[in-house]
Symmetry: C2
Subunit: 115 residues, 2 copies
């Protein structure tokens, strides 16, 4: 994760509907949800939902898998962990032991996602 990546991720999350989508998928876990379910849940039109999913996908925060005629989206948890770590990197030089260990723990968020 570099600064450019992080900005893309943050911009992807910095939108009402996309944030709702992301949080919905965080809750849904590794199995994800279909584009239609997602759009309906956050009150987006199919076109709008697709646009926002594409943005999140482009940022690498979610990934798509076609299943029959549905496309399921799920959070890319490793990327999420990388983003959180990037934001808190070297937090408070004064207490490096504390911040360092907390970041390592943050990396283990949602062990349900392999890799």
């Amino acid at each position: 994760m570099n600064s450019k990546d992080a900005v893309i991720c943050l911009a992807a999350l910095a939108n009402d509907q996309r944030l709702a989508i992301f949080r919905l998928l965080v809750k849904a876990g590794p199995s994800g949800l279909s584009a239609g379910e997602i759009a309906e849940a956050v009150g987006a039109t199919p076109t709008g939902g697709s646009f926002h999913l594409k943005e999140l996908d482009r940022a690498g925060l979610i990934h798509a898998t076609r299943v029959g005629r549905y496309i399921r989206y799920a959070v890319h948890f490793e990327k999420m962990r990388q983003l959180l770590s990037f934001l808190t990197e070297d937090c408070c030089q004064g207490q490096p032991e504390l911040c360092g260990s907390t970041i390592r723990k943050a990396r283990r968020l949602c062990k349900g996602e392999a890799k």
Copy 2:
């Protein structure tokens, strides 16, 4: 922290220079840095630096304190923790024990900042 707040925070971070500023201040810790030091460190003009600092301040991610003729900015760590928690809320319903406890630990990031 609600969705609207979070979007404002994320939009504030979704910019190259502002992200650099934020990470610089995360490293600097509770004592922060002056506007001039910050602008110089990230290669911003005084005007540009001021604009970006204002955005981060408006989002509540940093706060300003006048010290003589300098203005020092420091991260509002509690807000940062709230944002990270909001993003990972109810992470992976499948393993609530894991995500829940990890989030509690994330709240303790950088104990150097009281409350």
